[in-house]
């Protein structure tokens, strides 16, 4: 969260904008037209600009996110419903709390901010209405003690109903005791419905997750509405379960006839993603068991070992196929998301008066859905920056001899077991010599130090540095880096002044199992993610040197690479202490190469990632743990964390 400044007048001005008599938020209700939404959007844009005077990045970020959220609703023509109005009101309240200093505990505001940012992201990414509606069958079971929760279960029902037209709905009362025996403070009913909606099914899933639903639920996609034989839908004349409600002259309402769908065939089942995670975990256990048997085979005599190994070969193939199938369930094609980004670029271009030609490719590339969703928000931030500041306006472009129409390219493809998302523009680009000067000024590199370009560009991913020297770029890079590193991926930036910039995001195919190289240091085994490994070498004695300012290095292919003695770094015992007797695994992060000195390479293996305790989790050079075939724990090295720790 940004630091409070003493610019009280700026805060007062923001407060006046948010709560003055003419503030557009209070005047807005669900179903607001584009003009009203534009007024709210203008308000938050204004706050964003004012916040720059107070140098308050936090207000800037929230105002920016809110304005962007409203713009998306406005330009997509999506319905402005209660859920979206609540998000906007919440943004206003959070800003008010912040500038009033109402909350004394900054942590609670931080949580609020993150919840809100998540709400915006979710609506932003997933809920934009699609052209053709879908039909879902939703059932909700409530726990018997649901009434004791702060959240009345009827809100689930109301919230679900608010996202579409209920074709059928029913309270299930099979478990309801007789009236005389009923304990009315316990819940015995459940509810189901068939709903036609323009929204994605995730809108429903999120209701249950966000509201921490106590009980079971299922969301089942039904045959699309267009394909349903309307002859099979007939109106129910009366429902004996209906409670008779007398209408009085002052309380007459519009009442829909309930409709019953007799033949709808589900063409798929929506499964809670937690179940897929559980399946993946179980598969992980199989992989671990598999390694254990392989290890056992090594201890047998040659003939028995060979027989067992052969038998295991078939099992190994099936396990891998099982993993691929399981991963395929979680993966989705990028097409819809790529088109969303394309539309977003065009929208931003129009907003900032740029002529931009967008080229996209890789629609068929598949990636884990949760990864795509997490990566979209920071990618959008990058696009916003690129269009607003990175790309020149047509007149400027003409002056520098460029085509007046700028080009933005978004590409997604598979490469060596990972997925690459690349975003390029032919705008102003970043000047590495300028970056170097600023990095020296900021004390991030030593004067006169030979710094690889990749490392200089990676400074843009350092929020503090970027906010100081590239104010408009601000925290965009840091956000991207945080999300990508969380997904165990990498970000590379290539740029040339006057020619443009390319962000290359490399992500693993799965979050639960990675391809790793097991290495041994003394009695310990570490896993190095294969994605980060460049090569493994055994250096000659003459290639190991100590250079002033750089420490111990090895010379490999004409380059000096910093050497990390893992046994010293982790303070453990190793068998070998001379680099020329050991092996060196060269890894790369953000253009910076580092050599990890190890006793031995055990081999490439599928690594099931297990979470680690909070003490270890705070160590930036460890990203998780894995269980080896013999039951031992091995730590997974976080190459980005390690490289950053030793280079800073």
């Amino acid at each position: 969260m940004g630091e409070r400044t003493d610019s009280l007048t700026v805060f007062q001005e923001i407060r006046q904008l948010l709560h003055g008599e003419d503030n557009p938020v209070d005047k807005t209700d669900t179903g607001a037209d584009a003009e009203s939404l534009k007024q709210i959007s203008d308000l938050f844009h204004q706050i964003k600009i004012i916040s720059l005077e107070a140098e308050d990045q936090w207000i800037y970020d929230l105002a920016y996110k809110t304005a962007h959220f409203i713009d998306l609703i406005r330009t997509s023509g999506s319905t402005f419903d209660r859920a979206k109005l609540v998000v906007i009101e919440d943004c206003r309240d959070l800003l008010t709390h912040y500038i009033d200093g109402v909350e004394t505990d900054p942590g609670s505001l931080e949580d609020w901010y993150h919840d809100l940012a998540e709400s915006i992201r979710v609506v932003d990414d997933n809920y934009m209405e699609k052209e053709s509606p879908g039909r879902y069958h939703i059932t909700v079971d409530f726990d018997i003690d649901s009434f004791s929760s702060d959240f009345d279960p009827i809100y689930f029902i109301e919230e679900i109903a608010s996202y579409g037209d209920l074709v059928e709905r029913k309270i299930h009362k099979e478990k309801l005791p007789s009236f005389e025996e009923l304990d009315p403070q316990q819940c015995f009913v459940s509810w189901s419905c068939i709903i036609d909606t323009h929204y994605d099914y995730r809108v429903f899933e999120d209701i249950f997750i966000k509201r921490e639903h106590r009980g079971k639920y299922s969301i089942e996609k039904m045959q699309s509405i267009e394909n349903i034989d309307h002859g099979t839908i007939e109106k129910v004349e009366s429902n004996e379960e209906n409670i008779p409600v007398q209408t009085s002259p002052d309380r007459v309402g519009h009442v829909h006839q309930p409709v019953s769908v007799q033949t709808t065939h589900a063409d798929g089942v929506v499964v809670d993603s937690k179940r897929l995670d559980e399946l993946m975990n179980l598969l992980g256990e199989i992989v671990i068991g598999h390694s254990a048997i392989n290890r056992f085979a090594e201890g047998l005599d040659a003939e028995a070992s060979s027989e067992l190994t052969n038998a295991m070969y078939g099992l190994d193939r099936t396990t891998r196929e099982f993993q691929e199938q399981l991963m395929a369930i979680r993966t989705v094609q990028m097409d819809e998301y790529i088109e969303q980004l394309k539309t977003f670029v065009k929208m931003k271009a129009e907003e900032h008066g740029r002529n931009i030609d967008v080229t996209v490719s890789g629609h068929e590339t598949e990636l884990d859905r949760s990864m795509i969703e997490r990566i979209l928000a920071p990618v959008r931030e990058l696009i916003s920056y690129a269009v607003a500041c990175g790309i020149e306006n047509p007149a400027e472009r003409k002056k520098t001899g460029k085509d007046e129409t700028a080009h933005v390219e978004f590409n997604a493809y598979h490469q060596e077991g990972s997925v690459i998302l690349s975003l390029s523009d032919d705008g102003k680009g970043f000047d590495p010599s300028e970056l170097k000067k600023q990095a020296e000024e900021a004390g991030l590199v030593k004067k006169g130090e030979d710094v690889p370009k990749g490392r200089l560009f990676s400074l843009l991913l350092n929020g503090e540095f970027a906010s100081a020297f590239y104010r408009e770029f601000g925290l965009s890079g840091q956000h991207l880096k945080e999300v990508v590193e969380n997904l165990r991926g990498t970000v590379d930036i290539e740029s040339a002044p006057g020619k443009g910039t390319t962000f290359k995001i490399k992500l693993p195919l799965s979050l639960a199992i990675i391809e790793g190289m097991a290495v041994r240091v003394g009695e310990h085994v570490y896993i190095v993610p294969l994605l980060s490994i460049v090569e493994s070498i055994q250096p000659r004695e003459a290639d190991v040197k100590t250079i002033e300012g750089k420490g111990e290095v090895i010379q490999a292919r004409g380059e000096y690479i910093a050497l990390v003695r893992l046994y010293e770094y982790y303070n453990i015992k190793s068998d070998l202490t001379n680099p020329w007797e050991s092996l060196v695994v060269i890894v790369e992060s953000n253009g910076e190469k580092v050599g990890l000195m190890v006793d031995d390479l055990i081999g490439q293996q599928q690594t099931v990632i297990k979470n680690i305790g909070s003490d270890l989790a705070s160590n930036r050079s460890i990203s998780g743990a894995s269980i080896l075939g013999d039951g031992r724990i091995s730590l997974i090295i976080d190459i980005h964390g390690l490289v950053e720790e030793i280079t800073v």
Partner: protein, 84 residues
């Protein structure tokens, strides 16, 4: 025929007391009308009690009616499938 004016704050907190009141009234009368004119909306505990009470009355050849139901509550009954 008796009419019960339902308390404006009826919710899970008062539902046990409401349950007792309904049990008592059901012994006295064949048709019971619940007047919701002070009530804007109800929670699921109240709806569950209404379902149970209606079933009971029907089984005993009696009738339960609701009157002066607010638009919001009517909508609640509608989406739960209890009213047309």
């Amino acid at each position: 025929m008796s009419t019960i004016a339902v308390d404006e704050n009826i919710s899970v907190k008062q539902v046990a007391q409401f349950h007792d009141q309904l049990k008592e009234e059901a012994q006295k009368d064949d048709t019971i009308t619940l007047d919701f004119s002070s009530v804007r909306r109800v929670d699921l505990a109240v709806i569950q009690l209404l379902i149970s009470f209606q079933q009971y009355m029907k089984e005993n050849k009696k009738a339960m009616k609701l009157k002066n139901v607010s638009e919001e509550m009517k909508e609640q009954l509608k989406i739960t499938g209890l009213a047309k």
